[in-house]
Symmetry: C2
């Protein structure tokens, strides 16, 4: 219902200061009048034919919403004796939304009569009907169905609609343009204050006190007997960013009607499918092209222009930034920079790092149909179609038959890695953003959806039952959307990745700007090659445990576990040495002298033992031991909290033969590869350190192995021994630990787990509810917790540097690929971040943003 | 072999400055000449008849060991023309050991002839034989068997032994007293430098460079025709500390022979069993009594005096502090203080807090025989004898038959608590100092041995096989020594606890001295009563989860777990409310207005579900659900790392009905008990917090429950809501957390686990090797890690205080009972520590030590 003005005593007057006619020199500001008002001023400055426009400021609109009176007469004064205007919202950021535009304000019976005389009855009816409809629905908030404009407007239509309005509101349709405008302004101001509008814009990042501006513009009618209409035009394709004129024009229409019209709209350029504006109105079309070029050049952006023809005369009503995908943004920005319109730095800043993954992977085509089977956590972006494989073995079989497959598991474990390598996507019932499946899939660049608790795997009949009851069998085809976190039935159309020239150029510019290194976490030759392809500056984390899970090696590991004496263990491990050496030789070759940081063996030994009865029986056969001995050892090695158990350096100190073998493999590979080419300087990293003495003990043995290899081969080589800082204690004691460590690499995954006392594998069950209740502002495994974990990083970095000024500092946890976390690390003085290969482009771009932001902030500081 | 002096050029001369005759005014210092030398000087100052004694300093002995020449002529100069001397070690701390004394140095053929004339041939033979024996074995390092002195010395014995010496060394027995003394000094100096002597004393706390002094004393022969002999006397019983003259005297003996003689020794006081020194030599006896009183008064200590009679003349050769048990120390110190000889403060300081547990529990009688079946970690002190019970059910049955039993388990879980309550001791195969069994047993004051990996439980035939192959069946009797970490076969004699007047007096004095509070961790009425008995000032940690494991409650918990909706959960929990309320009422009554800090529900829900097939089937029956539903829920709730999972406040936020019910039970109990007596101000503690918002959310609900209970009962009451700081993040964010918390109680168990990334349940497998290799100086679960966890405590305390100046700070982890940790907490400004009831006396005493030490350090500071 329209609220009547009552209680004049408490109402203040919105006066001349609260609205401003937009002229080239008027004091219009984005922060005061909104983006649309500012953009219109820019168009006016470019001499584009913009109808007279008046801007209302945020405070003015806020007062209107609070019930203050509007001096609409003053606003309307400049619009002529019988004004006809539109009102559009103008929020600070166009993304924050706002109430819809209302056109044709000022249509009254009198004006209708006047227009009937000049434009004809049909045009006048249509203009009046459109206004009544908008006013009834948006201002008087009446039932929209009652005010539909029929396809065929007849003589009585207008009368019927005016009658309907009076019936519903018990008053005639307002005949005072000033009253009309006042009500429109009030309703739009109030809509902005509504709870759902507020929540929606806050979700897009708007502050709680975000203001709304409004623009009142003289109507360019678009309806009338001489060529009239309206349309939109843009000069690039928002999806690809490539130059292409797109848009529509519709005769006898207003606003953006051309875009939604079922039929009758014209193409803009010549088109074999039908008529075009280019042919129909070549002068207007030429003018529009000129406007587009002008906007691009002077507004330094690709704009979509909203225009109207009123009796053959072209008006520009509005212009907005062309909507675009991430790949569109990359190409548009690079093209603007290559044309000298913006700087390289500006182009880099225009592409948000978080948008990049969309370019790196297949994506589900947004135009396709989705038959969603299950929803979970989108743990690794991209999309893939394949047959369901319920075990790693099946996945490998399918791979050998060249059938793409999706590995579907309860959860994945280290022994599933080969199955993951064989798959095009991974779907798991359990786990969160940092579960094993998620971490590995991101490393491999595989789409991955985890935590699909509604899904149930039936091992007996090798099927999967989804939440809606549908049953899929192994071999059935599904499609995974790892970006949206969905599994879909059957095949779905996909878009290919976009690693084109523009992408490469942008990242080159980013590299010019950034001042923190970016390495990749890479465990396998494939990942190392990917790392190089994305121009990572080295490997920041090479986990070695996967190297022990290949079938031929697993049995050796198990023999080692069952060996009772150190000599026996060493003898068994001797057999792994040539394989490990070959692993490292291959990595060193691929990385061509770029640094490779190898983490010594980390997982608990029980991960190498079978758990089920059958597996234990098989192992007993293989080792020729009684079943009871095997199951007893399996039990003895099992742990309550494996994350906090006998792993990492604890294993290195208790069973030192493993590290001895690994060190030897690393150094022998170093010698072999250095002999063939550039000198390799391997980095050896000790995991899970919590005390200085752990480092001393391991260092003594590794140094001894290095000395032995030097003596045996007669080749001298360097290496760097460092520490993975994953426990809060290692951060706190970084000062003394750094005295024995050439580098400190912060493993933020484990550090987050321990700082919160929160297992990433178990957090999935409540993280969603925690984040939605605001207990944690974000999943700390996803976005670095600056307040807690971040403080430990800072403490560790400061103390590490104090203990050894030339110590290299880095982050090698999942956060190494997160833009905010990268900015934090850069500002905390870290030397590099390391992330999964597919995050390397994101990290390079984010690092550039951080550096540019910091330089600009410093300049701004100087300017003050 | 005796090393010949060679290469005089490199040998320096030990001159007059390196030895000092001990006179009342000589510059003798413990740190330079050792404790024995200093004690002898004190005896000389008291005018006791000490034979002439010369002290060699630590540097002199060190030079002797390094091969420098000794000017023994100068040393011997004061001992007469034909010197006869002994050499005894004098280390800084008598506990650090040292080489054995060597007597009768100076016995040569010539001296033998002379003594044969004055004392008779038998006495002269014996003195010479004794010296040859000592010299051959300790200086020349010959085979001891060859130099046994036969029971019946005949005319040829001396000749035979001299011949044997010459045979073995190819040189005659040295006939120059100076040469003899030089070799004795060198051999004793070298023995001190030996590896095993060094390791032994370092194990007792000696620094690496601990020095040895030596004392050379004129012999009082103890052998001869007129009454001669030797003995020791002390005036208290070292085991009890009670006044009692004990010791022996043996005619014709030297050194401490009287103590080891099979027969012939005299009692000291009149005794119906035989002759006594009191009768035999009343004057000497009276003198000895006078010496004892003089020592006690002037040396402020109970001393054991070594004396000799040489032809009826009494000499005091040495005096040492009476060896004593902890209970002996308590009584002796209290008696000295009550007699005004030392201050109360001094008495408090003399009893090491770590020694107290010995007084609180039964102990295995050190005189009894031990048939050790198994060794493990002594996880809770004391001793007990009972029948083996292999399950909690059996333990409860035995308890009901009043048969004491020892619960023997692989490991204990929360559901074993009732079994532990029913037992007199606990023995487990797995676990470390901080495993469930250990923590609970210490709380209950039960002796407990864990980590007995050599033991194997056979559930099928209900037996236990120990490491040596012996099999014991359920019902067989064993004895547990939780102090030494042993299980023994059958019954073993035990000593009863000693909570006598002296103990109470000492702790009263400790309370006068200390300035930090001591509370107890108590979950049950029994523990609360124990806490009061040991004068704890309140309950610092009442864990509530055990309250849910009683059979009648467990099924309710399980129903709640299977309820899908919040209302259903609340309805189920409603049935637990009266039981919980009764729990709290009882605790409040026992604590009589002393504060009770109740920790809200903490463990993960899966601890309440069965794991085996049978248990799941039973539960499915009980809940009338399909087995598949139950096993699916059990699986869904299982966690990879329960320590880091869905527990504590995470559960409180995700399933808030539990905390609602608990808060209501607490407040209703508060009202009920306050109505009957003093006002109760309960403390409600939120576990496992890592973010401020967690506290806000729980606080809002708890406040609402309090308001509801106030409204329903019409009774106003206060309560304090606080936070258990167990995650590193909570420490780091203590500033903001404290704004919503009246108190912060640091749970150092979990904090240690997370700071190190180390699960206490899994650490047992390598902690021993880690501590022995010095990786960790101590088990951090046992002794607070000052460097790492300690820093988090300090950070948390500082920030907590800054965020809320009146916040109460405490430690409620296991470390609350550890003396070093208590000193740390006191100095970091904590308000109180809380520990298991049986540690309360230790904590009170340790807190007193910390306060006195700090005051003395401050005084010393002022003095400078």
């Amino acid at each position: 219902m329209v609220q009547e003005q009552t209680g004049a005593a408490v109402q203040k007057h919105i006066g001349i200061a609260d609205f401003t006619e937009i002229t080239p020199t008027a004091p219009i500001a984005v922060g005061l009048h909104g983006g649309r008002a500012k953009c219109l001023q820019r168009l006016i400055r470019l001499d584009l034919p913009v109808p007279r426009t008046v801007a209302l400021s945020f405070p003015a609109v806020r007062r209107i919403a609070a019930g203050e009176t509007v001096d609409v007469d003053a606003i309307l004064a400049g619009f002529g004796a019988m004004p006809l205007v539109s009102v559009r919202p103008s929020s600070q950021d166009p993304d924050w939304g706002g109430p819809g535009a209302i056109l044709n304000i000022g249509m009254t019976d009198a004006r209708h009569a006047e227009l009937s005389a000049t434009l004809g009855r049909a045009a006048a009816d249509l203009l009046y009907l459109k206004f009544i409809q908008a006013y009834a629905v948006h201002v008087a908030r009446l039932d929209p169905e009652m005010f539909d404009i029929p396809a065929e407007v007849v003589e009585t239509t207008l009368h019927d609609m005016l009658f309907a309005y009076e019936e519903e509101t018990d008053e005639p349709f307002p005949q005072d343009p000033a009253r009309q405008l006042a009500e429109v302004l009030r309703s739009m101001a109030r809509a902005w204050e509504g709870t759902s509008a507020r929540l929606l814009r806050q979700a897009k990042g708007a502050p709680a006190d975000a203001g709304l501006g409004l623009v009142v513009q003289a109507m360019a009618l678009g309806i009338g007997p001489v060529e009239s209409g309206s349309g939109v035009i843009q000069f690039v394709d928002g999806a690809t960013g490539r130059p292409q004129i797109t848009g529509r024009y519709l005769s006898q229409s207003q606003g953006r009607d051309a875009l939604t019209a079922d039929a009758g709209a014209l193409f803009l350029t010549r088109d074999p499918r039908g008529q075009s504006l280019e042919e129909h109105c070549p002068d207007c079309f030429a003018e529009l092209l000129r406007y587009g070029a002008l906007c691009r050049e002077r507004l330094r952006e690709e704009m979509q222009i909203e225009f109207a023809l009123e009796a053959g005369r072209l008006s520009v009503l509005d212009a907005v930034r062309v909507g675009r995908t991430a790949r569109g943004e990359v190409r548009i920005s690079v093209a603007l920079a290559e044309d000298g319109i913006i700087s390289h730095e500006e182009a880099v800043l225009r592409v948000p790092p978080r948008a990049l993954p969309e370019l790196l992977h297949h994506q589900v085509d947004p135009r396709g149909h989705r038959d969603v089977l299950a929803r979970g956590i989108g743990a690794s972006p991209g999309a893939a179609t394949g047959r369901i494989a319920l075990s790693s073995r099946t996945a490998q079989q399918m791979k050998s038959r060249e059938e793409p497959c999706i590995l579907v598991r309860r959860e994945t474990k280290p022994e599933d890695i080969r199955g993951m390598h064989a798959s095009v996507g991974v779907l798991t019932e359990r786990g969160g953003m940092s579960s094993h499946a998620a971490v590995i899939a991101r490393g491999l660049g595989l789409p991955c959806v985890v935590g699909v608790s509604s899904m149930k795997i039936n091992r007996r009949d090798r099927s999967v039952t989804f939440g809606d009851g549908r049953v899929f069998f192994e071999g059935d085809v599904v499609t995974l959307d790892g970006t949206a976190g969905q599994a879909m039935a059957g095949e779905v159309a996909l878009l290919a990745p976009a690693l084109d020239d523009a992408f490469q150029t942008l990242l080159d510019w980013a590299d010019d700007a950034r001042d923190i290194g970016v390495r990749a976490n890479a465990d396998t030759p494939e990942e190392a090659q990917m790392a190089r392809r994305f121009a990572a500056e080295g490997i920041g984390l090479c986990r070695t445990e996967h190297m022990f899970f290949a079938e031929s090696r697993l049995i050796v590991m198990r023999e080692m576990i069952f060996a009772d004496r150190a000599e026996d263990r060493a003898a068994v491990l001797e057999r792994l040495l040539p394989m490990q050496r070959a692993d490292f030789e291959e990595l060193f070759e691929i990385m061509q002298g770029h640094p490779v940081c190898i983490r010594l063996f980390d997982p608990p030994l029980h991960e190498f033992l079978p758990t089920g009865r059958e597996g234990i029986r098989e192992l007993a056969d293989a080792l020729d031991l009684p079943v009871s001995t095997v199951s007893r050892r399996v039990e003895a090695l099992s742990e309550f909290n494996p994350m906090l158990g006998m792993r990492g350096v604890r294993l290195g100190i208790t069973v030192p033969e493993i590290y001895d073998m690994q060190a030897r493999a690393i150094f022998e590979a170093t010698v072999a590869v250095s002999r063939r080419g550039d000198a390799v300087v391997p980095e050896v990293m000790i995991p899970l350190v919590s005390a200085k003495r752990e480092v001393e003990l391991v260092k003594a043995r590794v140094d001894a192995v290095a000395a032995a290899v030097r003596a045996e081969t007669g080749v001298d080589f360097d290496y760097r021994l460092g520490v993975m800082v994953e426990t809060p204690r290692a951060s706190l004691r970084a000062g003394e630990i750094a005295q024995h460590a050439a580098f400190l690499s912060f493993g933020t995954n484990d550090l987050t787990q321990m700082t919160y006392g929160l297992s990433r594998d178990d957090a999935g069950r409540f993280m969603g509810s925690y984040v939605s209740q605001g207990v944690f502002p974000e999943d700390p495994f996803h976005r670095l917790d600056i307040d807690g974990v971040g403080e430990l990083l800072k403490i560790g970095a400061e103390r590490g540097r104090a203990g050894r000024p030339d110590v290299t500092l880095s982050v090698c946890g999942e956060h190494g690929g997160d833009p905010d976390s990268i900015a934090f690390c850069r500002n905390a003085g870290f030397d590099y971040v390391s992330c999964s290969p597919f995050r390397v482009p994101v990290a390079r771009l984010a690092a550039a943003h951080a550096a540019i932001d910091a330089r600009r902030a410093a300049l701004a500081e100087q300017a003050i």
